[in-house]
Amino acid sequence: MSKQLLLGDEAIAQAALDAGLSGVYAYPGTPSTEITEYIQMAPITTEQNIHNRWCANEKTAMEAALGMSFVGKRALVCMKHVGMNVAADCFVNSAITGVKGGLIVIAADDPSMHSSQNEQDSRFYGDFSLIPMYEPSNQQEAYDMIYNGFEFSEKLGEPILMRMVTRLAHSRSGVERKEQKPQNGISFSEDPRQFILLPGNARKRYKVLLARQDEFIKASEESPYNTYTDGPNKKLGIVACGIGYNYLMENYPEGCEYPVLKIGQYPLPQKQLYQLIESCDEILVLEDGQPFVEKQLKGYLGIGVKVKGRLDGTLSQDGELNPDSVARAVGKENKAEFCIPSIVEMRPPALCEGCGHRDMYITLTEVLKEEYPSHKVFSDIGCYTLGANAPFNAINSCVDMGASITMAKGAADGGLYPAVAVIGDSTFTHSGMTGLLDCVNENANVTIIISDNETTAMTGGQDSAGTGRIEAICAGLGVDPTHIRIVVPLKKNYEEMKQIIREEIEYRGVSVIIPRRECIQTLARKKRSK
């Protein structure tokens, strides 16, 4: 078959489709979004009725995928790294239940925080969940891992975690496809109690999982994704994980002088590691993200063979790897001939001209700054987080999805007035609703603005789970309908908007204001595709 030009994300999607996928479950998040979008657009998805709708959040996605696996079918779960925090409860427990149909979880990490709040390394999740993990170094490997990974998952009876990073997720290269496999039929576990994690059963299953670790290590030792390449210079041995391997080889086009152990599958392959450590004076670990492998090799006391990497300053502790930092780590230098002229200014992203969030912030800040100087605004994650920048300088917090409502509540509990929350519609249905219920139950004195652009704009305009039903959801959770106010955020409505904001701040209880106007980018895209 000829090669197809695919993003790392698309290679994953295509591999899953070719491997007989029955459903993808995901919530959008950079850099994982394109996996699900590719599956949604693929003709086979409709032909074979493969599940592909966006889920409300990563937890619901993970759970639904485990349900798909329960009936013996192959399921894929995709999320950005912080999504793992949301899905973690089910994820960690799924290692103990094990799976029936193949289940692969993709966690797309974002070292350097290109579009994230942190750079947590998802390999730690796989590690303490005690399941095997993949970390591809290129698009073809990502394809092969997923294509064969479902079978591997079924053979082990365990979910598999694949850790991606932004650079690979969003880089395009030629990928060769394999033949299409059929979907699994329905089948169930022979053990009727496999998925019942009552303590008695969980303890049993956990012991089994522990006992299988050697088997997982053996699989890593035999894995085609872990390769040992000898080199003549034994002063240094290099462990290169995922795309760290590419940056290393970029600096050695004729082959590396040092022995190199390339890692693509975890747990770490013991045999090859011993081989490297026995034959080399020192070890250098190249891994994108946090020093996951380095810590394991170094140990707490740091006794034994010298291990270099991010912890001893050979590489920076934060930020993604790149060909230049890896060059320095092996004593080379990629010299810049020119520097950035001092006149070059930063060009941060800003809310689009004509965006409804702008109208919301303009009116909100006018009311708050002039009339309520003691106010604080707890915001959330989405396009509207850009309200942090000039000219708005409107918000005081942005922490994790849903935290606007609950932080406002906590601050109000502590005596702050006015405590205002600003949250988007997709973030509200992702994890704002439960916080709103807390507010209602205590009649917290908060003013919640759900800035509803009827889409998930930040990640490229995916469907939003509650579109058309936001006020019904609020009312259903118990917000007094007279304090659910809907406005159209447009210049001509500024006076009305300001009046509503005033009234609802004055109301001592839970109020929800919903400025609603579709995102102009999503609107334009819809028009183009018509």
Binding site: S171, M346, R347
Partner: protein, 194 residues
């Protein structure tokens, strides 16, 4: 054959469409390629870039090392300057001359031009003006692409074929306009190099 290219501009200007054309042409030549894109917040006027690597040998890194880039293609003059540490000593900057001003502290255009003029190898052209002359402001990207033809290392006919394929579904007139834009850019670059 090995070409390391950085494409730069402002979100929404459409640098990725240039990458698509080059990528398709490179595949036609049977070359290896890797193209690292920026996704995410690009629709809101921030800076965007893409690393495009083409070679007749397998390519290791998705990112271009410092000082190794052969060609910076920029739809905006200040954005091209942002990636100068990657440019090799004999590399070229091919840039649009019209600034995209959406920040309050955008430097004076003269100063931007002065910095560009310090470079040993550059092509500066007004792609928007040329595009309008050819028929539509929408082909500005292709004019810029045309101006890179002398340094691209990919056969001109292959680039033309790639444009034909990509724009085919939009009709013959659109294909022709894009080919004209490509030729116009190429001609300007060739003149400037003389």
């Amino acid at each position: 054959m090995k070409k390391d290219i950085i494409l730069s501009g402002v979100g929404g200007q459409g640098i990725l469409s240039i990458a698509t054309v080059i990528g398709k042409a490179a595949l036609k030549e049977g070359l290896y390629m890797k193209q690292a894109e920026v996704h995410g917040m690009s629709q809101r006027g921030g800076d965007v870039q893409s690393n495009l690597r083409i070679s007749d040998q397998p390519i290791a890194s998705d990112l271009i090392p410092s000082g190794k880039c052969d060609l910076i293609i920029s739809l905006e003059p200040m954005e091209g300057l942002r990636y100068l540490p990657y440019l090799s000593s004999d590399g070229w900057l091919v840039t649009n001359e019209t600034p995209f001003i959406n920040i309050p502290n955008y430097p004076e255009s003269d100063k931007v031009m002065a910095e560009i003029n310090k470079l040993p190898h550059k092509i500066v052209l007004n792609v928007d003006k040329v595009a309008k002359e050819v028929g539509s402001a929408r082909v500005a990207n292709i004019v810029l692409l045309g101006a890179t033809i002398p340094f691209l290392g990919i056969n001109y006919e292959k680039v033309q074929d790639s444009i034909r394929e990509i724009f085919l579904r939009k009709g013959e007139a659109i294909v022709e306009m894009n080919l004209k834009a490509l030729a116009a850019g190429k001609e300007i670059a060739e003149k400037l190099m003389q």
